[in-house]
Structure formats: C-alpha cells, structure tokens
Symmetry: C2
C-alpha cells in the first residue's frame, strides 16, 4: 500500500468523519428507547366552534399522555364529499383554530385529498363539515394527516443530540420493522417522551404496545413542503 | 497525526470495507428503481371452495401485473367475529388451498388477530367465513396479512446482488419516506419487477403511483417467525 493510497484513505475518512459528525447519532449520542403511541383520528376545536357544536365549554374526561391535553366527553361527526365518520374524539384544551387530524385511510372514506402536515400548519388545507346533535360547523380549512413527531424535553433532546424542529429518522421495532424518515422533534419542558404516529403508520410497521423507536439519523431539511411552527 | 493513528484509521476502514462488502449494495451493485404496487384485500380460492361459493369455475376479467394472475368477476363477503367486509376481490387461477389476504385495518373491522405471513405459509393462521349469494364456506385457516415482497426475474436479482427468499431493506420515496425492512425477494423467470405492499403500508409511506423502491440493505435472517415457501 503506497503513501498516496494511505493519504487518499485518510482524507476520505477525515472528510466523512467531519461531514457525519453533526448528523450521525448512533455512536456519539445515547440511543434512547422512545415509547411509540398511536394517534387515532381526533379534532381540536376553537372555543367558538365548540360553542356552535355543543352550546358551551367541552367536558373533561381524562388526561392524555402529554400534560395539559385531555380527552373530552363530546364526540363529533365528520362529513366529507364521499363519506361520513362518526364518533370522532375531541381533544382539549381549545385552540385558536379548529384542526381535524385523520389518517389516509379516513381520507379515502371521507373522499378528501388530505395532505400530510405538521400540527398548526393548516393554510391551504381542505375544509370539512363537523356535526353534533346540536349543531353543525363548516371548517374552511384545517383537515390534515398529521406528520409524525416526537415529544421530548430539552434535556432529552440534548442527550439524543437533536433540537426542536429537527427532522430525524427513527427505527421502529414492530412486527414489520421500518425506519420512518422526516420525523419532527418537538421539545418543551412539559412534554413526556413519546413518538406519535397515526394508525396507518402503526399498522404498516406492525405496532403493538411494547414497540419503541430509536433515532438513527438526522436530516438536514425536508424537501416535502412540511412546515413546522 | 502520528503513525499509530494513521494505522488505526486504515485498519478500521479496511475492516469496515471487508465487513460491509457482502451486505452493502449501494455502491457495489446497481441501485434499480423498483415500481411499488398496492395490494388491496383479496382472496385466492381452491377449486373446491370456488365451486361451493359460485357453483362453477371463476370468470376471468383482466390480467394483473404478474403474468398468469387475473382478477375474477366474482366477489366475496368476509364474515369475522366482529364485522363484515363486502365485495372482496378474488384472484385467479385457483390454488391448492384458499388464502385470504387483508390489512391490519381490515383485521380490526373483522375482529380477528391476523398475523403477518408470507403467501402460502398458512399453518396456524386464523380461519374466516366466506359468503356469496349462492353459498358459504368456513375456512379453518388461511387468513393472513401478507408480508411485503418484491417480484423479480433471476437476472434482475443478479443485477441487484440478491437471491430468491432474501430479506432486504427497501427505501420508499413516498410523501412519508421510509425504509421498510424484512422485504422478501421472490424470483421467477415470469415475474415482472414489482414490490407489493398493502394499503396500510402504502398509506403509512405516503404512496402514490409514481413511488419507487430501492434496495438499500440485506438482512441475514428475520427473527420474526416469517417462513418463506
């Protein structure tokens, strides 16, 4: 092996180490098992829409995994151009704008072209009709398939070498193992460590209650028009 | 940089190159774009079950992407302990044993615990009731969620550095990009290059008609009890 080859190899290795350093997490950072939860279809309502549908404030039933979030007693019907989905959960507290999160399977039932968007990014999304036994509300926008994401504290993010709004690849160890890309990291002191995927993603990865995710890579950016607020 | 470090780096690089050679396909073999097709729920019938349900042979409607396979005019109803799915496609030609391929979403509707299995591996799988307007058949086994797989010719396999029954990882470039692991390679001179995933996997990966897959790795074996015939 002559000196030129040695030099070339070293240059290549050094380049690779330098280039990979900020994105490779596997060796340099702890690989932490992230609990994976399935998000079933649900609705977030503005105060105004909650009143239009139910005549008053929503009724708290139980806390959800993320502190402050709760399931409401009230249920709502989604009415699309092709089909209807009944008995859809409402999550509180109320938000500035109503938002409806469904799966691609649901979108086929409703007959809507529904884009994958991160929560809050509802400009340009389709509308949908919400109905209760007391009222009806036509949303002009707010129907999305929620982008997969991970809730974590800033401390957990530091341990995993990631930051708020980073897009990461996560290995899911279900019956149908897969690496899901473009997973958005969200950090907040009040978050509980949890990855959220929808039912299609869960079924496609053979999810069960014991499944966990591990971050295996970090993307520089997404090219898929996902905006993160 | 002293000699010891140089030597260590070279050893590491050489080890890695040697270790990766048999499994890394990205550099050494052609990365071929594989068309990805969605498999909707469907039934394969034995001749006997076809007669019990329809009183005679099945009616050919149109060829499918794999040569020799065809869609039948007849449709069947699946009856599970919890729910019913109507208008399910039947694919010909008839097989030695009837087999029903559904998604995890369908399994929830029917109320059956349905394992992921490769086609033909139906020992120990649940049964299901099939009904038409002329007859009813109770299958004692044969209800599966089909394992994802790729059809290719032996020549294409050679180009991609894989063999029949290999399990590979495939990058899917949908709206929700992902690497699906445990994808089974099946080779036959008559096959047309195509990867088959089910609707849950397609929805979870943001599938559309232009999506393609690329083999990015090869597994030594699966630990998930998948048997390949």
């Amino acid at each position: 092996m002559n000196e030129k080859i040695v030099e070339d190899i070293i240059n290549k290795v050094m380049n690779q180490l330098v280039n990979e350093a900020p994105t490779s997490l596997v060796d340099s950072k702890e690989s932490i098992a992230i609990p994976v939860e399935l998000s079933a279809r649900h609705v977030h309502l503005s105060e105004q829409d909650a009143i239009a549908l139910f005549g008053g404030p929503l009724t708290h039933v139980r806390e959800l995994s993320q502190p402050g979030q709760f399931l409401c007693k009230e249920r709502v019907r989604l009415i699309g151009p092709k089909g209807v989905i009944d008995n859809v959960a409402i999550l509180g507290p109320s938000r500035d704008f109503s938002q409806v999160e469904i799966s691609k399977t649901d979108a086929r039932i409703l007959g809507t072209e529904t884009p994958v968007k991160h929560s809050g990014d509802i400009d340009g999304t389709p509308g949908i009709i919400l109905a209760s036994h007391k009222g009806i509300v036509g949303l002009e926008k707010g129907l999305i398939v929620a982008g997969r994401h991970i809730h974590m504290t800033p401390g957990e993010a530091l341990k995993m070498g990631v930051s708020d709004k980073d897009l990461v690849s996560v290995h899911i160890d279900g019956d149908r193992p897969a690496i899901l890309e473009d997973v958005c990291v969200r950090t907040n002191e009040n978050f509980r460590l949890s990855m959220h995927i929808d039912l299609d993603e869960g079924n496609g990865a053979g999810w069960n209650k014991n499944v966990s995710g591990r971050i295996v890579g970090k993307h520089k950016e997404t090219s898929r028009g996902l905006h993160i607020h």
